[in-house]
């Protein structure tokens, strides 16, 4: 081996420094990005909520005051929205958690058939905006609903009950995924051990199954609570006079230009949503700690009666979830639902600003969101988990907070800060597609980063050390080793971001402008205008676009099948 010259060593040293610099630079930029587009807009809302407002000038006139909060809490009509929100959130949480648990239990602990199909059917609500449930319920059970008329039902779907049912249907997959993971990860041999010690099935369930999965259950419940209390689409459609916090924010801001009340209610909504998020986070950690990595034993055949019960239950749920979607699709092809049952495609000729183009706008915005969001969150996960710079902890914190902030609050934060001369960003953001893109990326930053981190954790450190010892620098080991190993999780992040971006309402409802029309917002506007045919048509198109895109991406990502060879060597 030749001796290395001093110059060479200096050169190498600089390379090391520049590699460290690169990590700091990228991590720092992501941090600054989150500060500008998450912390500051939300902080600004907190500030404005305690700022004096002039309802004549429709503007904040400075001066610290608690008047806005006093105003809110002194008006019984206002305070009602808080009660309403808590009421629907609590009941949605209870129903969803129980139903999702039973569904997940059937999929993981019984021998019912068609499990994969059932699992995917349970995911269906994810591909539609969260107002589809309300639309479907009204079409079936509204005063002029199909089933109401058919069976001469005499009930009222509008208001709290309608919202609760909608939220259950909407949040079902979110809870189901968590419970499915928990139930399949907690060692089911514990149940077998209890059974072998003579415990009857019911005892085993209450003494073993429930306690071992309780953190997963709590974490699912907290998530549902968060989803239900922050949802905007369903309550605005089916609530009628029943106002919740999110709809109240919207009505105050858009309807009455009362930014003071808007920001105040936003802060009030932020509190339960933050608490629910923190609980969810805490219980998820606890739940993960109980996960056993042992190989799963075969599930013994379920008793016929139990099997039949779970089969009927699962397919009933699946049927309902598909029906919600199906009703809207079918509805979009009838001239006038309940009155004129002739087939038509006329609802697909949209007479709205932007026309069918809104779908295209949503698509390309979502495509950008998907690619940029997935790349950013992957880099973020890599830096936090593998590179661990000194600011890894604060960066992690900044990255997980977005999930705690209701979309509506974030959206309100954006318009309130980017309609000012703040950092001169108004030129490129105000009323532009860019503000929507950034907003959706930030709003969904948490899940992207967390999934990236957990994926990075699964990549053995020695993998990168091997690359390093063979002479690869940070950039090359990232491009040639880390990125390829993350391909699958990267693609699932792309799908997630795309889906969220296509269907989100609450995050962007304040951000659409005469120049930027989005499909999901078009659905809500059409529906509010009573144009139920076109709104169903637009919702159908969103679902179709999401399905096709996911299908194509999934085809792309398909893993190469690796055959295990019989080993003759050893």
């Amino acid at each position: 081996m030749s001796t290395v010259s001093v110059q060479e060593i200096n050169g190498e040293k600089q390379k090391v420094l520049s590699e460290k610099f690169l990590v700091y630079l990228v991590g720092g930029l992501i941090g600054i990005f989150l500060i500008i587009f998450m912390l500051l807009p939300v902080g600004n809302i907190l500030r404005l909520s305690v700022t004096e407002y002039s309802s004549e000038a429709h503007d904040f006139i400075g001066g610290f005051t608690f008047k806005n909060f006093i105003n809110y809490f002194s008006k019984p009509v206002m305070i009602q929205s808080l009660y309403h929100s808590l009421w629907i959130a609590v009941w949605s949480t209870i129903f969803t958690t129980i139903l999702a648990f039973m569904f997940a239990y059937g999929l993981t602990r019984t021998t019912i058939r068609w499990k994969k199909t059932l699992y995917y059917v349970a995911m269906v609500p994810l591909v539609a905006p969260s107002l589809l449930q309300a639309m479907a319920l009204i079409s079936l059970f509204g005063s002029n609903g199909l089933l109401t008329q058919l069976f001469h039902l005499n009930w009222n779907i509008y208001g709290a009950n309608g919202i609760i049912i909608s939220e259950v249907l909407y949040s079902f997959p979110h809870a189901m995924v968590i419970l499915y993971t928990t139930l399949s990860a907690v060692d089911s041999r514990l149940d077998e051990a209890a059974a072998s010690l003579g415990a009857p099935g019911i005892t085993t369930f209450f003494k073993i199954t429930l306690p071992t999965t309780k953190y997963g259950i709590f974490s699912a419940a907290a998530l549902v609570f968060n989803l239900a209390i922050t949802d905007f689409g369903n309550p605005i459609i089916i609530g009628r006079g029943y106002h919740v916090l999110s709809t109240e924010i919207y009505l105050q801001v858009i309807g009455m230009q009362r930014f003071d009340l808007g920001t105040t209610i936003a802060v009030i909504l932020l509190v339960p949503s933050l608490i629910a998020f923190m609980l969810n986070y805490y219980f998820t950690k606890k739940s993960n700690a109980m996960i056993s990595s042992l190989a799963k034993p075969e599930i013994p055949p379920t008793r016929p009666l139990k099997k039949a019960a779970f089969t009927i239950f699962s397919w009933t749920i699946a049927f309902i979830l598909v029906s919600v979607l199906g009703v809207i699709v079918v509805k979009s092809f009838f001239k006038v639902w309940m009155y004129n049952w002739s087939f038509t495609t006329s609802h697909y000729h949209f007479k709205i600003p932007g026309g069918t183009g809104v779908l295209w706008t949503s698509f390309w915005i979502s495509a950008i969101v998907a690619i940029v969001g997935s790349l950013l969150t992957m880099l973020n996960g890599y830096i936090i988990e593998k590179k661990k710079p000194f600011f890894a902890q604060p960066l992690y914190l900044l990255s997980v907070v977005p999930a705690a902030i209701p979309g509506l609050v974030m959206g309100l934060g954006y318009i309130l800060i980017f309609n000012t001369r703040f950092l001169n960003l108004d030129n490129i953001f105000y009323g532009k597609a860019s503000i929507v893109i950034v907003n959706v990326i930030v709003a969904n930053f948490t899940l992207g980063t967390l999934s990236s981190i957990s994926n990075m954790k699964n990549i053995d450190n020695s993998m990168e050390e091997a690359a390093t010892s063979l002479g690869a620098d940070t950039v090359r080991s990232f491009v040639r080793v880390i990125f390829p190993l993350n391909r699958v999780s990267f693609m699932s992040n792309v799908i997630y971001y795309f889906m969220r971006s296509m269907v989100t309402i609450s995050a962007v409802i304040f951000l659409v402008s005469p120049d930027v029309h989005l499909a999901a917002i078009a659905v809500i506007n059409l529906e509010k205008d009573g144009l139920e045919g076109p709104s169903s048509a637009m919702a159908t198109l969103i679902v179709v676009v999401v399905f096709i895109t996911i299908g194509l991406l999934a085809l792309f990502t398909r893993q190469k099948k690796v055959s295990k060879v019989v080993d003759i060597e050893d």
């Binding site: 040293k13 020695s462 050390e465 091997a466 390093t468 010892s469 063979l470 390829p484 060597e569 050893d570």
Partner: protein, 358 residues
């Protein structure tokens, strides 16, 4: 400089506690050196400091006179074989081997010929286009070895490379690694917690305990002349007893034993721990013991015996203590003893090793 790699006063601190403390070691060119010790003894940390994955808190590591402390792993250009293999799962075997060559910008034709050469060396010509997941653990570890060898490193660092494999493959592969090392003349630093593995393949063994070196020596000396009670206990098995040396004998407080044994005269009247290996103890049932020192003969009862193949391990109860005795299986059969039988043991004076308690 004859010494390939020199560690001088090397320490590693994690927080306030030392993981490795004041390591001084010279590794010779072409040597097979093993770091041996239980988990947490600092052997892997030491290896990782040599590799460049851990910073060095104190001391220096030099390679051919050049200080390595501030060089990155890339700059040190050592080959590393990981316990988990760390093969890139998305690359074929040939691509894995080529990785280091590409990073060092070898020309294409040289890369191709080097891949074939290495596959020949590790005997995996047929696996060239396979993915790691298609190979058995043993084959994967050979690929990892080939990948580490590819860019012609002078030193190969191996971190428990065989511990994830089945016992049989482990023995086979360790012999192969040794042969390869001799053939290529490459320096290997090998980390293991398996003392049998360490003794069987190393030129020298470094026994580590709680971050410090207990002994550095050739395998046979490590086994025969352990320098500390710790080494005597960790390498092979031993029977221990504590007592005081007096007039050529070991006396144990409150016990009737007066073992005659050989010891360093400077230990006279000092408290010591004496050790004797199970295979040094003889079973003397029905043997003429007149020439043996009666103080070194013990009478006991066979509690249980275990068949270990070539030898039989007997556990003999001598009243207040249980003693391990290893005898050749054929001798054991001849004696015709069974569990519960009376056994007479002879502990030859030269079989004892003593360690000062001070």
């Amino acid at each position: 400089m004859a010494d390939n790699l020199v560690l001088e006063g090397v320490s590693k601190k994690f927080g306030k506690s030392y993981a490795v403390r004041n390591i001084n070691l010279e590794i010779r060119d072409g040597e097979f050196l093993t770091l041996l010790g239980p988990s947490g003894c600092g052997k892997t940390t030491t290896l990782r400091m040599i590799a460049g994955f851990e910073t060095i808190t104190e001391g220096t590591i030099t390679y051919k006179g050049k200080v390595l402390n501030n060089l990155t792993p890339q700059q040190r250009k050592f080959g590393i074989v990981f316990q988990s293999y760390a093969l890139f799962p998305h690359m074929r075997v040939d691509e894995n081997i080529a990785f280091g060559l590409k990073m060092q910008k070898y020309p294409k034709d040289k890369i191709d010929s080097r891949i074939d050469e290495l596959l020949g060396i590790v005997g995996l010509e047929n696996a060239k286009k396979k993915y790691p997941a298609e190979l058995s653990g043993g084959m994967q570890q050979r690929v990892a070895l080939a990948r580490a060898l590819a860019p012609h490193p002078d030193v190969i660092l191996l971190d428990e490379p065989l511990s994830a494999l089945d016992a049989k493959i482990r023995v086979k592969l360790r012999a192969e690694i040794k042969q390869l090392q001799v053939k290529l003349g490459v320096t290997m630093i090998y980390v293991t917690h398996d003392q049998e593995e360490a003794l069987s393949i190393s030129d020298r063994v470094v026994v580590m305990n709680q971050g410090v070196i207990e002994q550095v020596d050739v395998p046979v000396q490590i086994y025969k002349n352990p320098k500390s009670e710790y080494v005597a206990d960790f390498v092979g098995s031993n029977n221990f007893c504590e007592g005081k040396l007096e007039n050529g004998r070991l006396r144990i407080d409150g016990k009737p034993y007066k073992f005659k044994l050989d010891y360093d005269p400077s230990l006279e009247l000092k408290p010591v721990t004496a050790a004797i290996r199970p295979e040094r103890i003889e079973v003397v049932n029905g043997v003429d013991t007149s020439k043996m020192d009666p103080g070194n003969i013990l009478h006991g009862e066979l509690l249980v015996y275990t068949f270990l193949g070539l030898i039989v391990r007997m556990i003999v109860d001598i009243g207040d203590k249980k003693i391990n005795v290893d005898v050749l299986e054929k001798n054991f059969s001849k004696k015709n003893i069974s569990n519960g039988d009376k056994v007479d043991l002879y502990l030859p004076p030269e079989g004892f090793i003593t360690f000062s308690k001070e």
